[in-house]
């Protein structure tokens, strides 16, 4: 208990004094995870809408794979990305291994199925006749998609919060692909692993508290964005 209390006190001090190293790791974590989420949203939302709307042979199998992606072990994602980006891998020419780009790629692959699956579920949760009614009012496919996303706003906010939570707290893939290099690819989760291994529990707990604060803040923002719907 003493270690925990001491760690929390240490966290307060590190945060209060804006410790440069902690600040830089936290900011870097937010940047890579934020970019990974952005990429997952840009691709996952249209893909989720497409899955919800389209009808073709094998659609159910594709939906199954997409859902399965949410539960895919992140370490395996890391291994796959590592093999793809390694010197002899098909994407080795990019030179992304042990760089922030590699981390973003791994986190994108982890976030994408969450965004896509929850987007599809959100759209399918709306009354199917809504789409026809919008079409009848003269909406194009893009306009229908945007309107339906707005109608499913609450579910979409949950989707984004869930995806961000998954990528920002991820550790296995990031260590494999990023290598936990100080000042280059070290994020909050990998820094916690390192400090724990070193036996510096104060710093590990401090970084953990910061990670928790980020997660809580994102979810608080999400709750606020859901607005009136939560009051009903």
């Amino acid at each position: 208990m003493d270690e925990l209390a001491s760690g929390i006190w240490q966290a307060v001090k590190l945060i209060g004094t804006l410790d440069p190293e902690v600040r830089s790791i936290a900011l870097f974590s937010l940047q890579v995870s934020g970019l990974a989420l952005l990429l997952a949203a840009i691709t996952g939302i249209p893909y989720g809408i497409w899955l919800a709307f389209s009808r073709f042979p094998g659609r159910k199998i594709l939906i199954g794979f997409t859902y399965a992606g949410m539960a895919f072990p992140t370490v395996v994602v890391g291994l796959i990305v590592f093999l793809l980006l390694s010197h002899n891998g098909p994407l080795g020419f990019l030179g992304w291994l042990f760089t922030p780009f590699g981390i973003i790629a791994a986190q994108f692959l982890i976030g994408f199925p969450v965004v896509a699956s929850l987007t599809m579920a959100a759209i399918l949760g709306l009354n199917p006749e809504m789409r026809l009614q919008l079409q009848s009012l003269g909406a194009t496919r893009v306009q229908i998609s945007i309107t339906l996303l707005r109608e499913a706003k609450v579910a979409m906010i949950v989707a984004m919060a869930a995806a961000f939570g998954r990528v920002v707290t991820e550790v296995g893939a990031v260590i494999i692909v990023g290598g936990n290099i100080a000042g280059s690819t070290r994020v909050l989760t990998t820094a916690i692993v390192l400090e724990t291994r070193k036996g510096d529990f104060d710093s590990a707990i401090a970084l953990g508290v910061i990670l928790l604060m980020i997660s809580f803040s994102i979810n608080l923002i999400a709750t606020r964005l859901q607005g009136k719907a939560l009051a009903r």
């Binding site: 009354n127 006749e129 809504m130 026809l132 009614q133 079409q135 009848s136 009012l137 003269g138 909406a139 194009t140 306009q143 309107t147 707005r150 109608e151 706003k153």
Partner: protein, 243 residues
């Protein structure tokens, strides 16, 4: 010779191995109110969706204002935007009534959509709804808002699917008045699906009686009421069950 806005030739709509609609020939005249009557499951709503190009026919062709469309041909947005439909269960967006009525105008990048929507709502006697939220209105009000949402687009063709189903007599009267006003003021062609023959008599210039997806009889409303030729039409208008 009357100006035809729609001609349907040998239109068949299948769902799997079931034929929902099979019309050998049907003309709809510009500016008329055409009633589609028939018992439940006779293909009325399917026909309306085909006219709106929301669903595509399996066989046959639909000629709209001189443009021929088979079941696979692309329907340009400019054509689709000349018609709109009010559904039996209107779904309003989770926003204000004003935004709901302005929605179609915004899609078309019209100037001042909210102002136009507010003007129409006031003109239709719905000023109390201008500042209301869609989640706080009654079913009857939602039906009228859906009608306003369609009317504000000034469509060439207004398609109405059971516009007064589930409404109380007061709201039936109000909605029918709106439909007649729309006809007088805009000159739009109106196709209304109803299984209430008395409503069809009040609203429609002509009627088509559907049974099992096929047109049994088409003609001027009063003629069908007084001199229908087919015994099934006579029976349906007379209030008997028709199979």
């Amino acid at each position: 010779m009357k100006d035809k806005i729609y001609i349907l030739k040998d239109v068949i709509k299948n769902y799997g191995d079931k034929t929902a609609c099979h019309l050998s020939y049907l003309e709809i005249y510009r500016g008329e109110v055409l009633g589609i009557i028939g018992p439940s499951g006779s293909g009325k709503s399917t026909l309306l969706r085909l006219l709106n190009f929301l669903e595509r026919q399996t066989y046959g062709s639909i000629i709209f204002d001189g443009n021929t469309f088979d079941g696979k041909s692309h329907v340009p947005l400019t054509i689709r935007r000349r018609m709109t439909m009010v559904f039996q269960n209107p779904m309003l967006l989770k926003t204000s009534i004003l935004n709901n009525v302005a929605y179609g105008l915004k899609l078309r990048n019209m100037k001042y959509p909210k102002s136009e929507a507010a003007t129409l709502l006031r003109r239709l006697g719905m000023e109390s709804l201008v500042s209301a939220d869609a989640s706080n209105i009654s079913y009857g009000e939602a039906q009228r808002v859906a009608l306003a949402r369609a009317l504000v687009l000034r469509p060439d063709v207004l398609l109405l699917d059971e516009p007064t189903a589930n409404l109380d007599p007061y709201n039936v009267g109000v909605t029918e008045d709106l439909i007649l006003r729309a006809k007088e003021e805009s000159g739009a062609t109106i196709v209304v699906v109803t299984h209430n023959v008395f409503q069809a008599r009040r609203l429609c210039d002509r009627m088509v009686f559907l049974l099992d997806g096929k047109e049994v009889e088409v003609g001027p409303t009063e003629e069908l009421f007084t001199h229908a030729k087919d015994p099934r039409t006579i029976a349906f208008i007379g209030g008997d069950m028709v199979y």
